[in-house]
């Protein structure tokens, strides 16, 4: 037996070596290993390798999963995937272990007299359908809601939208992507009229300079960061890290520039000031392809219930814009931003040099921002002024956090104002959706209802009485958490939670449904670069666990919508995807057919004439361009992208005498969001077992705090206690602290503020004021 095991381990090692060699060959064409090494490594395995997009982040790496006897036993990066070219990060390669945690939810649970009782799936689904019906009868359609996520597959989001918007007739559909991507969406819509990046990951292979705006890519997008490092090794590309805190990314970057929280707005304008002043504006590009606008300012932060805001854009000209920039000369903003004049000019040189191709990357730092839409606009301004956009290597690139934040939430449109194609406010868009869904157009209300924060406020007020939560954990992630947890626990509220493990959100549920996870069902995800990827069901789901798609179909049928949900069990994913692609027909957003997605590692929309579109708005690559020019920003009626005049405005809550530190929250490499899956992967849990508060060494000295000491953090909303981390993984600036949010035992969102960007309605998790004391 011992020998047998030893020979098996050797065999597995050979497979591991072979995978690495294949990846090295993809990354370094022509790379050679000694003949003996290759012969030793070559092997034919008995595993059945199947392709899938990774379960975790929005990079969307292609992985190959080794299946043996109905169990997933191995993961490797897919060398055929243009996303990761065979690489894989620590989360991706451990992902299969998350399928086999000891406390998987396998049977439905219904709360009776304060405790959970196991029931059958049929009974649980009957109960959900009848509760939803009764709530509609008693309180109206807008009293029921669904809250999903960017981890919903495309079919999950599609049936949710069809059921709630098309059949029930409420726009109470939201997803946690509101908490991470909404500012990116409104940034795209205001600047270009269409959502999602114009470029793609292949830009990395062409760019000379990468500027990371508040984006700790080394931990959050590790495989893409490996690709950046790779380009530095191969071609001497430069990495510039703009940040409020020293991170692993800062340490690996060529240049790390620290700015004060919220002042990225002023920094971006200062770069534009320099571009104009130095004559680095690409005049002909701007004249042909850009217009100028300004919007309302000083519009508050959404702290009050029922807060409303609608921007009123006004046309301005280049001269007005130039005049506005006068207030952002480097010597004027250096004090505010903490960035030296020299560094501001250096950044402008990087963007302004006509011989350098530049990629900007960002993610939560810019999106979780009370002026999130503005800062997205401002970074686009830099690329538009220099004409560095929509060409290989010149690319403003908004990264996404979740595997299908783009594919499901943004493209299917699982947000209150959205439809799969277009918005509920537009009659033609409603008619288009209603026709495909087979429902009367009057069913789809023309007014959006609640964005995420307001949806939970409505639950608190009693305007919403029924909420179905799928694939997300809002009782860890909502800002100002206590209010929303108390809301969910109120009498006369009915909460359904579909998930794979118990979480603080299942704790507040009236019914818990066990979900099939990732490769236990069939599905599709869409990643940051407009790439849709398909995965088949590879292993059985445990117990009675069922896909979120099928849970909703079952409930829809029980509510009398058999006609609209007449999909067959064996073929429903194919049927749904086919139906969904009808919403996006046309050159601007055509989706790839399923047969293509089954045969390769995804494809990028617009998928036209059998080909992915890598660079949108560039006539050389994008067949939707029709103005006869080199570029066509066809999302806007005049075909021009907008350069926005957006000023610096302060954060709603800044440190003062009593609460004298900034609090920034975020993620860590090892854990996926709230840790409900990755904390059940022993190696990841051991590597990062609990949350902590990072304190600057000088602040720590002053407060007599050492690593491991317990620290009390207090904001106006609550207090929590955490161990200190001084001079370890990340180092915040003086007067700032950082806490990751993955740990349900140390809920940092008890402290955060539910202020949001008035345009995107995305909360700011990066800035509020706290007090720091040794416990």
């Amino acid at each position: 037996m011992g020998n047998l095991n030893a020979s098996r381990r050797n065999f597995v090692k050979k497979m591991a070596a072979l995978s690495a060699m294949t990846t090295a060959t993809a990354l370094f064409p022509g790379i050679l290993f000694a003949e003996t090494q290759r012969n030793n490594a070559s092997t034919t395995g008995t595993l059945d390798w199947k392709k899938a997009p990774c379960r975790f982040c929005g990079v969307g790496c292609g992985v190959l999963i080794g299946i043996e006897n109905g169990k997933a036993v191995a993961v490797k990066g897919d060398p055929n995937s243009p996303v990761n070219k065979g690489l894989c990060c620590v989360k991706g390669y451990h992902s299969i272990i998350a399928l086999y945690g000891k406390d998987r939810l396998t049977h439905p649970l219904v709360k009776k007299n304060g405790s959970y009782v196991q029931t059958t799936m049929q009974e649980a689904l009957d109960l959900i359908a009848s509760k939803m019906q009764k709530t509609i009868t008693d309180y109206g359609k807008d009293a029921v809601s669904i809250y999903g996520s960017g981890q919903w597959t495309i079919p999950d989001g599609y049936v949710a939208s069809k059921l709630f918007k098309g059949c029930i007739g409420t726009n109470n559909v939201e997803a946690n992507a509101r908490l991470c991507m909404a500012s990116a969406v409104t940034g795209f819509l205001t600047s270009f009229g269409l959502d999602e990046p114009m470029g793609c990951y292949e830009d990395i292979d062409h760019a000379d300079i990468f500027v990371l705006w508040g984006n700790n890519m080394a931990e959050m997008h590790p495989v893409l960061f490996s690709r950046l490092l790779d380009q530095r090794l191969k071609r001497g590309a430069k990495i510039i890290d703009l940040t409020t805190r020293t991170t692993r990314t800062s340490k690996a970057a060529d240049n790390s520039i620290l700015f004060r929280p919220q002042t990225d707005l002023a920094l971006a304008n200062a770069i534009c000031y320099e571009l104009v002043k130095k004559g680095w504006v690409h005049r002909s590009f701007v004249e042909k392809h850009c217009s100028f606008r300004k919007g309302l300012t000083d519009m508050g932060y959404g702290l009050e219930d029922n807060y409303q805001f609608k921007d009123r854009p006004k046309k301005i000209n280049y001269k007005d814009y130039q005049q506005f920039l006068e207030g952002y000369a480097p010597e004027k903003v250096t004090q505010l931003t903490g960035v030296s004049e020299k560094d501001i000019r250096y950044l402008a040189t990087c963007y302004g040099d006509p011989n350098k191709k530049v990629m900007s990357f960002w993610c939560m730092g810019m999106n979780q921002h009370t002026r999130g839409t503005w800062i997205n606009n401002l970074v686009y301004n830099i690329h538009l002024l220099t004409g560095k956009i929509s060409t290989p290597g010149n690319s403003p690139f908004s990264l996404t956090g979740q595997p299908s934040a783009c594919g499901t939430v943004r493209e299917v449109g699982t947000l209150t104002h959205k439809l799969p194609h277009g918005v509920v406010m537009n009659k033609t868009h409603r008619e288009h959706a209603a026709k495909i869904w087979g429902v009367p157009v009057e069913n789809i209300p023309s007014k959006p209802t609640y964005h995420t924060v307001e949806m939970f406020r409505a639950l608190d007020r009693g305007d919403i009485r029924f909420m179905w939560i799928q694939v997300t954990n809002p009782m860890v992630t909502m800002p100002k958490l206590k209010r929303y947890r108390d809301a969910a626990k109120k009498e006369q509220r009915f909460i359904v939670v579909s998930d794979v493990y118990p979480t603080p959100t299942t704790d507040i549920a009236d019914v818990i449904l066990p979900s099939a996870m990732w490769i236990e069902r069939e599905g599709l995800y869409g990643n940051s670069e407009r790439r849709t990827q398909y995965f088949e069901q590879m292993i059985p789901a445990p117990g009675e666990a069922m896909s979120d798609t099928w849970q909703m179909i079952e409930v829809a049928k029980r509510m009398g919508f058999e006609k609209q949900f007449s999909y067959q069990k064996e073929t429903h994913i194919e049927e749904i995807y086919k139906e969904y692609t009808r919403h996006h027909e046309g050159k601007k957003h055509a989706m790839p057919p399923l047969s293509i997605l089954k045969s390769q590692a995804g494809a990028q929309w617009p998928f036209v004439n059998g080909k992915s579109t890598q660079w949108r708005f560039n006539a050389q690559y994008d067949s939707a361009c029709s103005n006869g020019e080199a570029f066509h920003f066809y999302g806007k009626p005049d075909g021009k992208a907008v350069i926005w005049q957006r000023p610096y405005e302060p954060a709603p809550e800044v440190p003062d005498k009593e609460f004298d530190f900034w609090l920034c929250t975020g993620r860590v490499l090892e854990h996926w969001h709230t840790g409900s899956m990755t904390r059940r992967i022993p190696v990841l849990h051991k590597a990062m077992p609990k949350a902590y508060v990072e304190v600057h060494p000088k602040d720590a000295k002053r407060l007599q705090i050492q690593t491991g000491d317990l620290v009390l953090l207090t904001s106006r909303r609550g207090t929590i206690q955490l161990p200190a981390s001084v001079n370890e993984r990340g180092i915040p600036e003086m007067g700032q602290v950082f806490v990751p949010f993955f740990d349900e035992d140390m809920l940092i969102n008890e402290l955060t503020l539910d202020a949001f960007c008035p345009i995107s309605k995305q909360p700011d998790y990066k800035k509020c004021a706290v007090k720091v004391q040794k416990a």
Binding site: L4, V12, A16, A17, G30
Partner: protein, 79 residues
């Protein structure tokens, strides 16, 4: 019983030194490329704890510039 493979990028000019360092660590096997500064690293540990502490040890190597993970195998393959 994790077996993992990585691409290990040495600090410029230090491929040989890195190879020696890696070979001296238990649970590690390393294969150098012959025409590129890159090594393939295979780690074979008994449990998650051992794997985590090995990761810390690897991160402290002076001649290692960057480690990129490629494949991971979790359980022995059944016959």
């Amino acid at each position: 019983m994790p077996i993992t493979s990585y691409l290990a990028h040495p600090v410029e000019g230090q491929q040989q030194k890195l190879l020696e360092e890696l070979l001296s660590i238990s649970h590690c096997e390393a294969l150098p490329a012959v025409n590129t500064e890159l090594l393939i690293l295979i780690t074979d540990t008994r449990n998650a704890g051992e794997e985590a502490s090995l990761k810390i040890q690897l991160e402290s190597l002076e001649n290692l510039k960057h480690l990129a993970m490629v494949a991971g195998f979790q359980t022995p393959i059944n016959s």
